[in-house]
């Protein structure tokens, strides 16, 4: 789950990480009212989950109510790299002496937590990593030990921050690590982490990705679920509990298992088609699940044909076939469907499907045959 900046800052604040006072608003009037409460100057910041907001004109400094009104009016509704700005974060402007970068994420290769700290902040860290990798001080933290203050201090030393920032940075980094571990985050990033002329260290931005698997420990994260950015199709699939990713093509894909679903998307591409989606219905393939999946695909106006790719393991072929037949009864589908059914009792399953076959409902023996058929049926 990706958080917006304002949610990330609220998350940071819970772990004692200093952030600027601010308020999230969705209208121009509320923006002005918030600025009046916070005090000037304020920064008006577009809340979108994409980099490059500043360059796109989504972050503006405002010295009085009139400026807040102008900027908020311009930024609300703005399109930044395909993301529409619906929320603004109004915060007290900070004086900046220096800008740094700090983050924690999992190094899957080392199987340890990786902390990155750089004296070159406020710019894209990928660019720093590419052009000047030695400017990033890295620390690998064993999850069993955690980040000790001593290790954090040595790490800050290695990053060669301004000595005036040392104490503040050590304090923030140990809190950031706690937020990352106790808050079950996949990523916590502060860019820029700033040193103020007065010597305080402060998180000026917040990028946080939370682990969706940790909801049982953090029931309050449900609130973030509601603000996840999903297109209409993704939202409909999510509401039905289906694993769905929207793509741009015209062949609807339904498969059981994430690997097989990915593989199905791939093979549709390989034979010259363009998949409209990735959809994993999981192991069961019951009539209910299949109905939900077909409804989601059927509501996508770009879909011109549908590929149902099921491999029966524990769930037997006849159960899968009965599920498909029942689902086709419940959902009115205009576009042609190609089914590939294999695995446990595939023969019995195919026998059940046989009487239902027509121009609009085909069955093919292999994934490759089915992919070619479904792409041909989609036409030009």
């Amino acid at each position: 789950m990706d958080l917006f900046e304002y949610q990330g800052k609220q998350f940071f604040a819970r772990y004692g990480i200093p952030v600027s006072p601010g308020e999230a608003v969705t209208t121009v009037d509320d923006a002005v009212a918030a600025a009046e409460r916070i005090g000037y100057p304020v920064v008006v910041k577009a809340q979108v989950q994409v980099g490059g907001r500043g360059k796109a004109g989504g972050i503006k400094l405002a010295g009085d109510a009139g400026e807040v009104r102008t900027h908020a009016g311009n930024i609300l509704g703005m399109d930044i790299k395909g993301h529409t700005v619906e929320t603004l974060w109004i915060e007290l402007a900070s004086d900046i002496a220096e800008e740094y970068y700090a983050s924690f994420t999992l190094d899957r290769s080392a199987k340890k937590h990786l902390g990155m700290l750089s004296a070159q902040g406020g710019v894209e860290i990928e660019a720093v990593a590419a052009e000047n990798p030695e400017a990033i001080a890295k620390i690998w933290v064993d999850p069993v030990d955690g980040l000790t203050e001593e290790a954090a201090r040595a790490w800050v030393g290695a990053a060669e921050l301004n000595p005036a920032a040392t104490e503040g940075a050590v304090a923030i980094l140990t809190k950031l690590y706690s937020a990352y571990v106790e808050g079950d985050a996949d990523l916590v990033e502060i860019n820029p982490l700033i040193l103020k002329p007065t010597g305080e260290v402060h998180a000026l931005d917040a990028k946080v990705t939370l682990d969706g698997n940790s909801l049982f420990r953090h029931p309050d994260y449900e609130a973030y679920e509601a603000t996840q950015v999903r297109d209409e199709r993704e939202q409909a699939a999510h509401d039905k509990g289906l694993q769905y990713v929207g793509l741009d093509g015209f062949v609807g894909v339904i498969a059981n298992g994430a690997g097989l679903a990915m593989s199905t998307v791939d093979i549709v591409n390989q034979v010259g088609g363009e998949p409209a989606n990735f959809l994993d219905i999981g192991g069961g393939a019951s009539a209910e699940v299949m109905t939900g999946a077909l409804e989601v695909i059927n509501n996508d106006p770009k879909v011109r044909s549908i590929f149902i790719n099921i491999f029966g393991g524990i769930t037997k072929g006849e159960e899968v076939a009965n599920g498909i037949v029942a689902a086709l009864d419940r959902v009115d589908i205009e576009v042609p469907i190609v089914i590939r059914l294999d695995g446990t009792n595939a023969d019995l399953g195919r026998e059940i499907l046989e009487p239902h076959l027509s121009d609009k409902l085909q069955m093919q023996p292999t994934m490759l045959d089915a992919a070619q058929a479904v792409v041909a049926l989609a036409g030009k």
Binding site: L106, R108, S109, K111, K112, H113, E126, D142, P143, V144, V181, D184, D186, D211, N213, S214, F216, R217, Q243, V245, L247, A255, N256, G257, A258, G259, L260, A261, M262, S263, V265, D266, I267, N269, Q270, P275, F278, D280, G283, F311, G312, G313, I314, D342, G343, T344, T366, M367, L368
Partner: protein, 298 residues
Amino acid sequence: MSIFVDETTKVVYQGLTGSQGRFYGLLNREYGTQVVAGTNPRKAGTDVEGIPVFASVGEAVEATGATASCIFIPAPGVRDAVMEAAEGGVSFVVCITEGVPAQDEAWFFNKLKRDFPGVQLLGPNCPGIISPGKANIGITAGHIAKAPVEGETTVGIVSRSGTLTYQALYELKLNDIGVSTCVGIGGDPVPGTSFIDCLEAFEADPETHAVMMIGEIGGSAEEEAAEFIAAKMSKPVVSYIAGVTAPAGKKMGHAGAIVSGGKGTAQAKMEALREAGARVGLNPTEAGRLMVEVVRDL
């Protein structure tokens, strides 16, 4: 032979009294696996169709000589269940449960490595392991795998995806190729057993003649496996990588299947494997065909 598990492996099922644990525990026993015990602190002293239930893995090990455990405990209890298995004295732990937080996985992976170096964890979020004809621990449908035949060329399988593992087993069976062991390492960010652990074991197993490796987008485990193949493997490897056309930044079903910052792409993985001398199929059927050719030429 086979790797990690065989007909002598005695397994205790953590969560045997739950619906999933019971269903698969009994299926595994039917397959021939030595399912010797279950655990549930509230139901100790009872049994599930003749399988005795103990309060803890430690007690089960003491009473039955169990050497492995299989975890069907819901995600919130997995961290404790893994440690209970290690402390209880089994040396192989299969964790089927999906939805385990990455922070827990990273923690118990390192905890095991440090305090229980003799314990091997498989999973979480994996289909388990099957040595066809000998033992099936987990949720794989045993009948889709062909048991190895003495004197015939035999293949080992290691995979990050459940359904693609079944697909691979099935394609080999259709081509009458036996499998020594099929290991599903799971699709999570911190798998207890890696591709390399399995490749190393297959290389050392005299009964395995070739290896099928099924990877997917995300992380760099396939690239690391490619390095191992180039440096240490004498046996042929056929590979397939799912997610060639996955969009960046989107989680494709598995928690670990995500392309981020241009890293973890299927193209990079396939390239690394080809350079290492592995044969790479562009879809599961093609990978199956390549394996048939490899087996024929051995």
